[in-house]
């Protein structure tokens, strides 16, 4: 099998990349391990997707369906489901299906494998390991796809968006959610979800609070929980017992990089890319949550389209780049994607997150001489919200630094 572009992953990033690549004239293949396209959207039955991309509000399955229809319409685009990629070799991939192993040759590769949830082991959750401990995504799958309730009395650890959404879902399905515990002084979820998933249902959100110990032999019987200090040390004097039969973990997502053999950026836990979303490996492009964990699926779709466009241009020998420069950032910013940026034609998109809440400031892009290349006013932004900054490539002629400046 030979293609111009192969996309690994049939979630929102991969579908968008595949459609864009095909539209750009490249013979394209999407490889998906599930029996269906759509990825995690299929189990996100709540609404709120698509406001930015489609200017309309959809549920997850509806948003997925929009893209599945676009995929089906493309004549240049093939899809392989029930197929695992077991090895990447340059831009070729080894796939494993029920019929055995095979190699698919490609001129360019788009990595769109998404991310994984952090587990009880990842966060060194202390105490016993009875049944009744689920990640938020596992619980979501049980409830929304399989129609099963994971438990009746629930404590949610972590305030990631899936945890907040599951607190509401479990409440609506008849469970009692005792509390959401967040070890940090601020929540990691979107404010909209705090209001509509917790406050609407009077579910308490306890900040600077975590589980000290899981209690239970066969099934979870409860948790000892309490406050932590600035250095995240547990304050024993605050320890209390909360009976529950279920613990839902919503404690972060990590890019799914098992197949990737490249240098990993400790900030994003994924690979380094340039402004064409091209990795250190020639012809390999990266997008979506495998590159950095996004806040909104709309942003994933847009990033996927950019990767699909660039990968197909590359495969068809049409990708023209200028000179490459480094992009760094000040300490108020926790990371940028990309970390390398080109001069030349068109617009480069920089995505980043801030470390703490920032109000009424400017994001400023400076060149090596300290001159302002581009700036953008920011009314307010939170660490949980991804920021976007666009810069005209014709203005780039040296290494760049992204900073936050007061008014």
């Amino acid at each position: 099998m030979k293609y111009d572009v192969v996309v690994i992953g049939g979630g929102p990033a991969g579908m968008s990349a595949g459609v864009e690549s095909s539209r750009n004239g490249a013979k394209t293949l999407i490889i998906e391990r599930n029996p269906f396209l759509g990825g995690i959207l299929k189990q996100c039955i709540h609404n709120g997707f698509g406001l930015h991309y489609f200017k309309e509000e959809f549920t997850g399955p509806e948003y997925a369906q929009k893209f599945i229809e676009l995929v089906n319409k493309e004549k240049n685009l093939d899809v392989l489901t029930n197929t695992f990629v077991t090895k990447i070799d340059g831009t070729n991939v080894e796939i494993t299906t029920e019929f055995g192993k095979k190699v698919v040759e490609a001129k360019a590769l788009v990595l769109a494998m998404g991310c994984r949830e952090r587990t009880a082991g990842n966060i060194l959750l202390t105490g016993s390991r009875p049944s009744g401990i689920f990640t938020a995504g596992e619980a979501q799958r049980l409830v929304n796809i399989q129609g099963k309730l994971p438990g009746k009395n629930v404590v949610v650890l972590g305030s990631g968006d899936i945890g907040l959404v599951m607190a509401r879902r479990l409440t609506l399905q008849g469970a009692s959610v005792k509390a959401v515990l967040e070890i940090n002084p601020t929540t990691s979820g979107l404010r909209r979800n705090i209001v509509q998933c917790l406050e609407d249902f009077n579910i308490p959100l306890l900040l600077k609070t975590t589980i000290f110990e899981v209690v239970g032999k066969n099934r979870v019987e409860g948790v000892y929980y309490g406050s932590v200090d600035e250095r995240y040390n547990k304050i024993e004097a605050t320890k209390k017992f909360l009976p529950c039969d279920t613990i839902i973990l919503s404690v972060g997502l990590v890019p799914e990089t098992d197949l990737i053999d490249m240098q990993i950026n400790p900030k994003t836990k994924s690979v380094f890319v340039n402004d064409y979303l091209q990795s250190e490996k020639e012809g390999v492009f990266v997008c979506g949550n495998v590159l950095h964990v996004h806040d909104l699926v709309d942003n994933v779709s847009m990033e996927g389209a950019l990767a699909g466009k660039n990968a197909s241009d590359y495969a068809l020998n049409r990708l023209k780049k200028g000179k490459q420069y480094a992009l760094s950032h000040s300490t108020e910013i926790s990371y940028t994607v990309p970390t390398m940026i080109h001069s030349g034609e068109g617009t480069a998109v920089i995505k980043f997150r801030v470390r703490t809440k920032i109000t009424k400031s400017y994001f400023v892009l400076k060149n090596a001489k300290g001159e302002v290349v581009a700036k953008k006013y920011v009314m307010a932004c939170l660490p949980g919200e991804m920021q976007t900054f666009e810069v005209d490539r014709s203005l780039i002629n040296s290494n760049l630094v992204l900073e936050v400046a007061g008014l």
Binding site: N34, P35, F36, K42, Q43, I45, H46, N47, E57, T59, G60, P61, E62, A64, Q65, V143, N144, I145, Q146, G147, L172, Q173, R191, R192, I194, V195, Q196, E199, D200, T359, M379, A380, C381, L382, E385
Partner: protein
């Protein structure tokens, strides 16, 4: 008597802490930095509405559903209860399963097809 309600504005990332004073004839909003905050607070006080999503039982498992319009926040559990009463033989994305649920001027519509769940 002074009646005050606190809320966080969700119209933008500012997250203004709003205080709504409902002791007079008209609602008075403070803490907001723009008009959107005032409008949000007034709507949340007078007629907060939400799109409700739920799961409907079928002979082959559950399917996701939603209200086609936002319904009053106070009716969320009632709407879910109506959905829970139903058990469908068949159903696919786009099918209306309850017309004008509880007279709220919103339908309950299926939002997704059966997901192939063999893993």
């Amino acid at each position: 008597m002074k009646k005050q309600t606190m809320m966080t504005c969700i119209m933008c990332p500012m997250g203004c802490q709003l205080v709504v004073d409902s002791s007079g004839k008209e609602l008075k909003v403070s803490g907001n930095t723009c008009i959107r905050g005032e409008n949000y607070a007034k709507e949340e006080m007078t007629s907060p509405k939400r799109i409700v999503t739920a799961l409907v039982k079928t002979s082959f498992g559950v399917l996701p559903v939603k209200t086609t319009k936002p319904v009053p926040k106070s009716m969320i559990f009632d709407v879910v209860r109506e959905v829970n009463k139903i058990s469908l033989k068949t159903g696919k994305m786009g099918d209306v399963v309850i017309k004008n649920v509880l007279g709220l001027d919103a339908d309950i519509v299926i939002t997704g097809n059966k997901v192939d769940d063999r893993i």
